[in-house]
């Protein structure tokens, strides 16, 4: 796997109570962290905010400095022609390659829609996506 093929996503633990997300949003603002895309997964009592930041390394350090539980994770960014069909396309490709999608979410990128996909076997996923003729984006392409 070459550098720049995978995107660094920040996963942030959020208490599921009024004001929690707002307080994280305030910290992001105070630390001058700009989010390009994000998605929130919720469960009873807590949630996970998954976000693509401009400068993930710097963002991660500033959040940790403010005692926020944050974990960098690698995700794949795929350029798609149009979102609904696009997600189906990726799901089919990865399904046929027997690769499990942990989660996926979309982003209306500057150069067209992008889908972020989290899988356990990124290398195999990259190969399958490329073999199907789809375009994988690096951090600079976002």
């Amino acid at each position: 796997m070459k550098d720049g093929e995978l995107i660094t996503q920040l996963s942030i633990f959020v208490n599921n109570e009024p004001g929690s997300l707002a307080s994280i949003a305030l910290v992001l603002k105070e630390c001058d962290i700009n989010l390009k895309a994000f998605n929130i997964a919720e469960s009873a009592g807590f949630g996970v905010l998954r976000a693509i930041a401009d400068d993930p390394r710097k963002a991660c350090a500033s959040l940790r400095g403010r005692s926020i539980a944050v974990k960098p994770t690698k995700v794949i960014a795929v350029h798609v022609e149009d979102q609904p069909g696009g997600l189906f396309g990726i799901a089919r490709i990865l399904g046929e390659a027997k690769i499990n999608i942990e989660y996926a979410y979309a982003y209306a990128g500057k150069k067209g829609p992008v889908i972020f996909v989290r899988v356990d076997e990124p290398e195999a996923a990259l190969a399958a996506i490329r073999a199907a003729g789809m375009k994988v984006l690096g951090e600079k392409d976002l």
Partner: protein, 433 residues
């Protein structure tokens, strides 16, 4: 090493003989000079002459925390105010505070007791001890202060708060021992980590004397391993004088100075005296107190008396670590639950930090218990599935420990309150309905 070997290692027969002498003198004096306790004894149908051996203590009536509150501020004092040299006040969680007073002799015994205790954990005149208990109305700060001075240690009276400054002083002065609450030491270790201070590498700390709130052996293990120290339990309440007694180097029960206190364990429901090793409520009779005598005072702390000699050579009686309080005890769906059990269960889940908050509520006719627990930042995963499996595992362990179903809610690291003194990690919403 012993501070007062003649007393600490006295033969069993001498202990019993001298305890009985003290008790007989105490009861006679109270009956003659203290209208409150005389009234209690008369109401109970017992006279000083009925106390013919040590076991006869069970014939005497109990004293309760409410007796102190009802007689606030000084109605239970048995000496004139001119003989009082200090007061301390404990803030009750409900109602009036309780006031305790000390004669010079009372302070002398308290300090002597702590000198014995600090020596027993290995603190000497070569140590520098940071006293991070609150100084003031609370007994912890001043009590430990004078006890540590008595053994000749260099005392840093840092009290509570400004943790970063406390850590800087700990490093700069080469502090070797600390006295504070266990949760405050854990907080200090966390703050140190953020400041780039490693307790093992950057401090000379080797001993911690921890108390004023319940803690567990599992918590001790975490503290000892993360700070590279030995942590000892200290016990005592303001009614007894303050924190007075600690474990010895064996870490196998808290030694009670037999010349100052006579302990009993009773069944909290029936008041019946229980045998050695049986768990129940601790009741103390203070054998030397002048200003505010305590006879069969019900502490509400749950523990057991350990029988047999200690490896350290001390013959004084020992009690087990306090496992809970009879009044902290929650009855959830008819089952007794102690917060210490919850704490112990949580420590079996390495992905959680050990900080918690319990909420009990009643939904319809059913009691529902919720435990909020902080997730360790290192264990945090972006996958919901991983987080749910931590939650499920914690719920399984909780069920095993408590015998009731508990809902675990994962919380962000650092989001639950830290208790620096006596604080309640229990919210019982049922009492508000």
């Amino acid at each position: 090493m012993y501070w007062n070997p003649e007393v600490e290692c006295a033969p069993r027969e001498e202990i019993e003989r001298r305890q009985f002498e003290s008790l007989r003198g105490l009861v006679a004096n109270l009956y003659d000079n203290n209208p409150f306790y005389r009234g209690k004894m008369d109401g109970h149908g017992v006279k000083p002459g009925d106390i013919r051996c040590l076991e006869d203590i069970s014939k005497l009536p109990f004293m309760y925390k409410d007796d102190l509150r009802d007689n606030y501020p000084t109605k239970l004092f048995t000496v004139p105010t001119t003989d009082i040299v200090r007061y301390h006040v404990s803030s009750g969680t409900t109602g009036k505070p309780t006031l305790v007073g000390y004669t010079r002799e009372d302070l002398e015994y308290w300090t002597e007791s702590l000198a014995r205790a600090l020596t027993s954990v290995g603190i000497t005149d070569e140590d520098t001890i940071q006293v991070s208990y609150g100084y003031g109305l609370f007994t912890g700060g001043l009590g430990l202060h004078y006890g540590a001075e008595r053994v000749g240690a260099s005392v840093l009276p840092s009290s509570t708060g400004s943790t970063e400054r406390q850590l800087e002083l700990m490093v700069d002065l080469g502090v070797t021992a600390i006295a504070c609450t266990p949760s405050y030491l854990i907080h200090m270790i966390e703050v140190a980590g953020k400041m780039g201070i490693d307790f093992r590498r950057d401090t000379k700390l080797r001993i911690a004397v921890l108390g004023a709130e319940p803690w567990t052996d599992a918590m001790r293990k975490i503290i000892e391993e993360s700070a590279g120290i030995r942590a000892y339990d200290i016990f005592g309440t303001s009614e007894m004088a303050g924190p007075m007694f600690t474990e010895c180097g064996e870490q196998d029960g808290i030694h009670l100075s037999w010349d100052m206190v006579y302990p009993e364990i009773i069944d909290p429901e029936t008041g019946e005296v229980l045998g050695p090793g049986e768990e129940g409520e601790l009741v103390v009779t203070m054998l030397k107190k002048e200003a505010l005598p305590m006879v069969r005072f019900r502490l509400r702390d749950v523990t057991a008396i350990i029988e047999g000699p200690c490896k350290c050579g001390r013959t004084s009686p020992r009690i087990r670590r306090i496992t809970g309080r009879t009044d902290d005890m929650l009855i959830v769906r008819g089952i007794n639950v102690f917060p210490s059990q919850v704490e112990h269960a949580l420590l079996q889940v390495p992905e959680l930090t050990g900080h918690y908050q319990i909420t009990v509520d009643r939904i319809g006719a059913l009691d529902v218990m919720k435990v909020e627990a902080e997730i360790d930042p290192d264990a945090f995963s972006d996958k919901m599935e991983d987080l749910m499996s931590i939650k499920k595992r914690a719920e399984g362990i909780m069920k095993k420990y408590l015998n009731i179903g508990v809902r675990i809610e994962l919380r962000e690291h650092g989001s639950l309150p830290r208790y620096e003194g006596k604080g309640s990690r229990v919210k019982d919403m049922r009492s508000m309905k």
